[in-house]
């Protein structure tokens, strides 16, 4: 049998074993001592009875006894008796051992034996005679009796049965108590587990409601304390990222303002100066995009991202998004005539631009954008006909700064685009999944909740 794995099962098992063992030990001990005293009492009774009977005979004893006297003595002692005198005997008791006979020559002895018919008590005693000098000496007559102890044995058996019953009765009670106790232990443990899971899942505000002053409450407080620290460290990091991004904006504002001037005033006769200025413009734009995305990520991390939902005609929004970036001619559209939904127009634009931009950069034409209503959701599917995504890339494609192929030249994106798109989808209560289309090529599906716009 395997040791049960759950804490509850183990607690209950241990509890039951202890409780039942305790109950059984107590019951058995009680039964044993009661049995022992019952037996002792029976032995005392039979012995006393024999002594009384012998004492009643004493006046009639003439020594040496003839056979008739021996028979009479035997008769007065009930059945199962034997009287001997120096080799002569009245009655026959095969149970009596030689050992007992030897011991019974000068004192009363008894012995318990188990026979096929049940337990028996063997008693042997000499009959004493009082001489003229008042000295009591063995008369040479020895009396042996066998007494039945079956009644006592039955009583002891009943006691043992009761003990067994008591132990058995303890079992359900023990199980119940164990379950109650286990619940008392396990409920706080489960709370700790659930909170830890919530923390691991990213909800750093999860805390355990602790009460009491036992070790479990201490555990809860410790976990809460740990969560506080983690949250504080993370908050500091996020503030740092937000502050850095914010600080970067100031010089970037200046750079953005002046690089165009530089590029425009660069003379055609100085190709190096011209190219340098153009590089400065391009890289400044990339830096601006990166800082914007970093700010956006910090807003998501800080829970400051707010949805500004309004009725949006989705096909138009998709077209506008592509037109603004000059992609209308490069993308096949599969859009319904009308589909109005309540969405954050700007965030939808960010997602579509990201998905289509990635498809154009990393995939191969034709890039297709399809919009469908599926139940109470709307789905925007972006597919390309490139090599598709490797399993490794699929697992990490939404990670920040994940580059699918380090051998490939870096894309002009910030590396945060898909992470932000996913966060935007979730902010809507929707989702964004990556996969591969059947004919090869990457396939991204954005699902957003769709309630008919009023």
């Amino acid at each position: 049998m395997r040791w049960p794995r759950g804490l509850r099962a183990r607690l209950v098992l241990a509890f039951v074993v202890v409780a039942v063992a305790g109950a059984a030990a107590a019951a058995w001990a009680g039964a044993a001592s009661a049995g022992a005293s019952l037996v002792a009492e029976a032995e005392r009774r039979h012995t006393e009875d024999l002594v009384h009977r012998i004492e009643a005979l004493a006046p009639d004893l003439n020594l040496p006894p003839d056979q008739e006297l021996l028979d009479r003595v035997r008769d007065s002692l009930g059945d199962q008796a034997q009287v001997t005198y120096q080799g002569r005997s009245s009655g026959e008791l095969p149970l009596i051992t030689g050992e007992l006979r030897t011991a019974a020559r000068d004192r009363l002895v008894f012995q318990r034996v188990d026979t096929e018919d049940g337990p028996r008590l063997l008693i042997g005693t000499p009959i004493m005679s009082t001489g003229l000098d008042l000295e009591r000496t063995p008369s040479g007559i020895e009396v042996y009796v066998v007494r039945d102890l079956s009644d006592v044995a039955r009583q002891v058996d009943a006691l043992v049965g009761t003990a067994a019953l008591t132990s058995a009765a303890a079992l359900p009670v023990a199980v119940l108590l164990a379950l109650v106790a286990a619940r008392g232990v396990l409920r706080p443990v489960r709370r700790v587990r659930d909170t830890a899971a919530a923390l691991a899942g990213g909800d750093l505000s999860a805390r355990i409601s602790t009460g009491g002053a036992d070790e479990l409450a201490e555990l809860g407080e410790t976990v809460n304390h740990m969560a506080d620290s983690v949250q504080e460290v993370l908050a500091e990091q996020r503030r740092f990222v937000a502050d850095v991004s914010h600080e970067l904006r100031t010089p970037l504002t200046t750079l953005t303002a002046v690089v165009e001037v530089l590029a425009e005033s660069a003379d055609d006769r100085q190709p190096m100066a011209r190219e340098s200025a153009e590089l400065a413009v391009a890289e400044t734009e990339r830096l601006v995009a990166l800082v914007e995305d970093l700010m956006e990520v910090s807003r998501f991390d800080a829970g400051m991202a707010r949805l500004r939902a309004e009725p949006v005609e989705v096909p138009d929004a998709i077209r506008d998004c592509l037109r603004a970036r000059g992609w209308l001619d490069e993308v096949r559209l599969d859009l319904p005539e009308h589909l109005s939904a309540t969405l954050d127009r700007r965030r939808l634009d960010v997602i579509v631009a990201n998905l289509v931009g990635n498809a154009l950069r990393h995939g191969a034409p034709p890039v297709r954008v399809a919009l469908r209503e599926v139940g109470n959701r709307l789905e925007i599917e972006v597919t390309d006909h490139g090599p598709g995504l490797s399993p490794e890339a699929l697992a990490h494609v939404f990670d920040r700064f994940y580059k699918a192929d380090s051998a490939r030249p870096r894309s002009p994106g910030s590396g945060l685009g898909l992470a932000i798109s996913l966060a935007n989808a979730r902010l809507h209560g929707g989702d964004l999944v990556a996969g591969n289309a059947e004919g090869g090529g990457a396939r991204f599906v954005l699902r957003l909740p769709h309630e008919e716009a009023e």
Binding site: T250, L252, L255, A257, R345, D349
Partner: protein
């Protein structure tokens, strides 16, 4: 050649924007603090103010409110955070438009021109709607005979709406027509502008007669 007052505390940013905007044909004056900005505005009477939200003394919102209290000079807010807080507070303080740092000179210049534009004079110059008299040619609005001071954006919003009384305009339409924003314009610009308009032309701004809200769609003028 419009005269622009740039109120910005960072000297390098200030100089960079001044260079860029000058290249686009503007005359740019600068001020480094809110107080200086208010003083410069009083002395030079610029055509437009570009106002940074983060200022060392008075914050940009306070400067914006004081400028508004003096008259209808167009104001564009420069916000560094791009946070909703900045945008909402800036528009509530009376800004006509806002841009987020870092801003491309071409974009800022386009916004400046849009906020300054007074609209082409129209033939049928004056129309009267109830107590409201709108002189499109002279770009003057009178309420019960008294002239109402409007910024160009407020005036053009009112002109756009009143050109077709009873017709519903979406926020997006107004953003493209009046602010000349692209398809991703911030509809809060329109809402704030309408609120300021109502405060100036309605008897009871909470129960508007002239500029009415059509829930879920946008705004319409009257009909009165």
């Amino acid at each position: 050649m419009p005269v622009i007052l740039l109120i910005e505390d960072d000297p390098l940013v200030s100089r960079g924007l001044q260079l860029a905007l000058t290249r686009y044909g503007n005359t740019v004056r600068t001020a480094g603090t809110g107080e200086d900005g208010l003083r410069a505005c009083h002395e030079t009477a610029p055509d437009l103010v570009v106002l940074d939200v983060m200022l060392p003394d008075l914050d940009g919102f306070e400067v914006c409110r004081r400028l508004r209290a003096r008259g209808p000079v167009p104001i564009i807010m420069l916000t560094a955070r791009g946070d909703d807080f900045d945008v909402v507070a800036g528009l509530a303080a009376g800004a006509d438009d806002y841009v987020t740092k870092p801003v491309r000179p071409a974009v800022l210049d386009a916004r400046i021109k849009a906020v300054l534009r007074r609209g082409a004079p129209r033939e049928d110059d004056t129309r009267t709607h109830g107590e409201l008299e709108i002189d499109a040619a002279g770009a003057v609005v009178r309420k019960s005979g008294q002239p109402v001071a409007l910024t160009p954006i407020e005036l053009r919003t009112l002109l756009a709406l009143s050109a077709a009384p009873g017709r519903v305009f979406t926020r997006q339409q107004l953003l493209e027509q009046v602010w000349e924003h692209d398809y991703l314009g911030d509809s809060r610009l329109v809402d704030n502008c309408v609120q300021r308009l109502r405060a100036k032309i309605e008897d009871v701004p909470a129960e508007p007669v002239y500029v009415q809200t059509v829930r879920g769609f946008g705004y319409r003028f009257g009909p009165v």
